[in-house]
Amino acid sequence: MDNPKVKVINLTKKFGDLLVLDDVSFEVAEKEFMCVVGPTGCGKTTFLNSLTKLYLPTSGEILVNGEPVDMKKNNISYIFQEQSTMPWLTVEENVGFGLAIKGVDAKAKREAVDEVLEIVGLNDYRKYYPNELSASMLQRVVIARAFATKPELLLMDEPYGQLDIELRFKLEDELIKLWQRTQTTVLFITHNIEEAVYLSEKILVLTNKPTKIKKIIDNHLPRPRNVVDPEFIKLRNEVTELIKWW
């Protein structure tokens, strides 16, 4: 890769004596959608938290655009597992929150908010407060908020882990739409293999603790993808085999 968006070099993280990440190196290309899968408890969240410097890595380096990652300078967005809308803001204010923080002027903010609200289908709910919305709508608000700031890198940590399967499918399609429209680089963590195969351009398979990279798989299945397509199932099985720890 000539100019990777993100370059992770020999990333290692220890909590005391506990080795969680063991010498992890990989690259994410610009505008790529990469999924990270691994067995439960393999340190996927630690992995993301190290990327955002919520945890300082024990050793190794993370470069964004060839320079050490800096949350103040790089526009990196993070979508948590937990629901994280501000209960005192309406849907549109929530979506515009990141832009307001960054001091974007009112007109540009309005346009950006309109655009993402349209894509996630929450236009009719823009004046609602979070306590009036369902869990899936709230997650849409959070995702819309992240995309509204046009992040150069979007980190997602099992954002749909709490949702039922039908909603998940729907939101996954929306996510793909947003990603295609905004050309954002996405790093998406999940323990759901089907989800990873459905969404990604590239799948990063992690091992059990201490976490290493087992394999990086290119995923060039045509879109829109079909979960019962034999090619899809073949890839899914391949990833499942890699993840098996039983």
Binding site: I76, S77, F80, S84, M86, F97, G98, K102
Partner: protein
């Protein structure tokens, strides 16, 4: 959903009317048929005295002037105490060094009821209005501080993390996450503080006064006029209730995002 709340509100109002009516009925029966009648006036006598006091003055003024005087003492210093309490409570809740300095002192002062300060208040502020203002201030300040503190402390770390990630500075986190997140707690504190300040007025007017609802009670005690005592009690109760309702409405308008039902 709206229909439901409307219906339940209607039910609530009906239940309130019935419960008050039954209470008055029992009181009436007790004073008519038992020896309690010798010790205290019946609700009929008390309530008619209350309504009469709007025309016939108690001491120098009719009842509404007394109420006015008490409100003039309570409201401004309730507001001053509340503002001071919000500022101290929130900064104490969010900034650890502020808590380290003020919290120990505050925790020792907090359990002391405002009326315990009366002798000192008189020494510091004299027997005029100053000492009354001081007591009202204390009553408001203590309650609002502790609630604002709890509000800032309960700030959701996920929301802080997410505004940090969106690039918020420390000051922006304080103003856009900590402050709005504390608002429901602050209002809970304002509500408690309002009743507490209003209740303190009786004690404050005990210091020395020639008007006010507290004065009605003190002076009726001196003249053994238990009807007037009850007129004062009813006035305090009704005004306190109205203040609480006003406060709740203010909250409903300002804080649309949370529906608390108390």
């Amino acid at each position: 959903m709206i229909d439901n709340t409307r219906r339940s509100r209607k039910h609530g109002a009906r239940a309130a009317v019935i419960s008050i009516f039954v209470f008055l009925l029992i009181w009436q029966a007790a004073t008519t048929f038992t020896s309690l009648g010798i010790l205290m006036p019946s609700p009929l006598i008390s309530l008619s005295a209350f309504f009469k006091s709007f025309i016939v003055p108690i001491g120098p003024y009719p009842i509404f002037i007394h109420i006015y005087w008490s409100l003039v003492r309570v409201v401004p210093f309730y507001i001053v105490g509340a503002i001071a309490g919000i500022i101290l409570g929130i900064t104490m809740g969010w900034y650890k060094p502020v808590a380290a300095i003020f919290r120990p002192i505050f925790e020792i002062l907090r359990p002391i009821p405002p009326i315990a300060w009366i002798p000192i208040a008189i020494v510091w502020f004299g027997i005029g209005e100053g000492s009354k203002w001081f007591l009202i201030f204390l009553a408001a300040f203590m309650n609002v501080t502790i609630n604002s503190f709890a509000g800032a402390r309960s700030t959701d770390p996920v929301l802080v993390g997410c505004s940090k990630m969106l690039g918020a500075s420390d000051w922006q986190i304080f103003t856009t996450v900590v402050l709005p997140g504390s608002v429901p707690y602050i209002f809970a504190g304002l509500q408690v503080a309002l009743s507490s300040s209003w209740a303190t007025i009786v004690a404050a007017e005990m210091i020395r006064s020639s008007e006010g609802v507290g004065w009605i009670i003190i002076s009726s005690q001196e003249t053994n006029n238990s009807v007037n005592t009850l007129v004062g009690v009813v006035a305090i109760g009704i005004v306190g209730f109205i203040l609480a309702v006003i406060m709740r409405e203010v909250e409903a308008v300002l804080v649309k995002w949370t529906k608390r039902d108390i």
